[in-house]
């Protein structure tokens, strides 16, 4: 299959290049005032939305392998880091352009605005993941510790979705879409957690009695 061959031979470095190109490109269009009447909000939302999309793609790679036998493991780190770079770009637009470097506004937002608080903690949660996403950390850290750190990505996705819900005025179609994808990914993950397995063995035991 051609498609599969493309993926097999696609160098990861090229994927980085492809996935990260929209960041400077959108910014360039923004500077040229080609992003519509409200370029700031466009850029801020675009970076944020793409960050969410890449985070969800990162999270689907393991269920894709398990349930659909599609192996994209080679790209998981790349897509995860790309998501992180979009999140950083999103925050840069907010901090440098939207609130204009105002610490007062930042602090009052962080005290009062639930969607900013949720988004802020989603970002904080992602930092240790990004920092330990290199081979050096993989070698240095115990694999169980590393896995534990990286399971925080599920906390980040929940916080990100809350960030999105809390800033919306109404329940839009895209909001429903992202919530559904997140719920599916979380449900598949939950099925594999120890707590769920224990609970299900208990309930099975109850039934067999």
């Amino acid at each position: 299959m051609k498609f599969r061959a493309i993926f097999k031979h696609l160098p990861v470095s090229l994927l980085y290049l492809i996935l990260l190109t929209p960041i400077p490109l959108y910014f360039y269009w923004g500077v040229l005032n080609q992003l519509g009447p409200d370029p700031l909000r466009f850029l801020e939302h675009k970076y944020g939305e793409l960050g969410l999309v890449f985070l969800l793609i990162t999270l689907s790679i393991s269920p894709l392998l398990r349930y659909a036998k599609i192996n994209l493991m080679k790209f998981r780190r790349c897509v995860g880091l790309v998501a992180f770079y979009y999140v950083i770009s999103h925050i840069c637009v907010y901090f440098f352009l939207d609130i204009g470097l105002s610490m007062d506004l930042l602090l009052s937002d962080l005290q009062k605005r639930y969607y900013i608080i949720a988004g802020f903690f989603a970002f904080i949660t992602l930092i240790p993941l990004a920092l330990t996403s290199n081979n050096f950390s993989l070698r240095k850290l115990n694999i169980r510790t590393w896995n534990k750190i990286h399971s925080f990505v599920y906390v980040a996705i929940i916080l990100s979705i809350f960030h999105f819900i809390l800033m919306s005025k109404t329940w839009t179609g895209e909001l429903y879409f992202y919530i559904s994808v997140t719920v599916i990914i979380l449900a598949l993950k939950l099925k594999r957690t120890k707590i769920y397995k224990k609970l299900s063995t208990y309930s099975n035991a109850d039934i067999s009695k």
């Binding site: 992003l35 009447p37 409200d38 370029p39 800033m167 005025k169 329940w171 179609g173």
Partner: protein, 312 residues
């Protein structure tokens, strides 16, 4: 341009339409610069109040026609700002009837042409401040709402005016889903409705109102958040009780009946202290939001003694 205006108001009204229909945007922006320059001289005390107040227009630079017609909140056509420009052309605005309730006249249904007959069409350059935290300046044309209300004999106990947008899910694709409780409804107190600033817009930039801006007939209340200025009005009711209003029913904690622009009363989820000025580009500075969107001299009396934090 003038030909297009004739289409909606009839030829005999053209006389009253002197300035906006024939003056291209760049010209009257220059004129405003001239007015500003005059204000800086010793004539300031004389020129400012006369030029600014006579027609209630702001001297701020209007947004471009492109910006005004491609950045709209009109959920009847979708929740994205660009959806209305894409889908609003499906709305039939001719013929258009408006139903009036709470009046003692027997005739309650009027065609838009009947409403516009004899109305002096004028231009009002108003600030628009959206509850989402952005703002524009729009050169509307139309007439004060009170010119219309004064035609009717209202029921004695009239305290409020309610407005309904049309409900046509076949033409308004956003209405196919219950994003809001359709049809969109808004309301004002009768004092607010009779205020000379309260305006019915039938066009902008001297042209017929584009559908995405609420054709053929919309409300403009410049000192309130934009969502109060209901678009494509199909019904106007005069009533005793405070009417149902869509956004305050959707989320009463976040959107009040009054919804006056007020930098000191935050939306529960975001600050209202400043606003992003549409058209200023990526590096534009935020503007400090003004109480009543800068129309404090004109409207403060309406809310004398009222706790604006409680009646938000």
């Amino acid at each position: 341009m003038s030909n297009r205006v004739v289409n909606i108001i009839g030829p005999h009204n053209l006389k009253s339409l002197k300035y906006s229909d024939v003056t291209p945007q760049n010209l009257y922006i220059n004129r405003r610069k001239f007015v500003e320059a005059v204000c800086l001289t010793s004539l300031a005390s004389l020129a400012t109040p006369l030029s600014a107040k006579q027609n209630y227009s702001t001297i701020a630079k209007p947004n471009t026609f492109e910006e005004i017609t491609n950045y709209n909140n009109f959920y009847e056509f979708g929740t994205s700002k660009t959806d209305p420009a894409k889908y609003a052309n499906n709305l039939t605005t001719n013929p258009w009837e408006v139903t009036f309730e709470g009046i003692s006249q027997n005739k309650k249904i009027f065609d838009i042409a009947e409403i516009l007959k004899g109305k002096a069409i004028q231009e009002r350059v108003y600030r628009l401040r959206c509850v989402e935290g952005w703002s524009m300046v729009i050169p509307w044309i139309g007439f004060p709402l009170r010119d219309l209300i004064n035609q009717f004999e209202l029921n004695n106990n009239t305290k409020y005016v309610a407005f309904d947008t049309v409900y046509r899910p076949d033409e308004m694709i956003g209405q196919k889903r219950a994003i809001l409780d359709w049809p969109y409804r808004e309301g004002l107190t009768i004092e607010e409705a009779l205020h000379p600033l309260t305006f019915i817009a039938t066009g902008l930039y001297g042209k017929d109102l584009p559908n995405q801006n609420g054709a053929p007939f919309r409300l403009v209340v410049p000192w309130k958040y934009g969502f109060k200025s209901i678009k494509s009005i199909a019904k106007i009711s005069f009533m005793e009780k405070q009417p149902y209003t869509t956004w305050s029913a959707e989320n009463p904690r976040e959107y009040g009946f009054y919804s006056n622009v007020n930098p000191n009363v935050d939306h529960p989820r975001w600050s209202q202290a400043t606003e992003r000025v549409i058209g200023e580009g990526l590096f534009g500075e935020r503007r400090k939001t003004e109480l009543f969107n800068g129309y404090i001299d004109e409207v403060a009396d309406l809310y004398k003694g009222m706790d604006l934090k409680k009646y938000y």
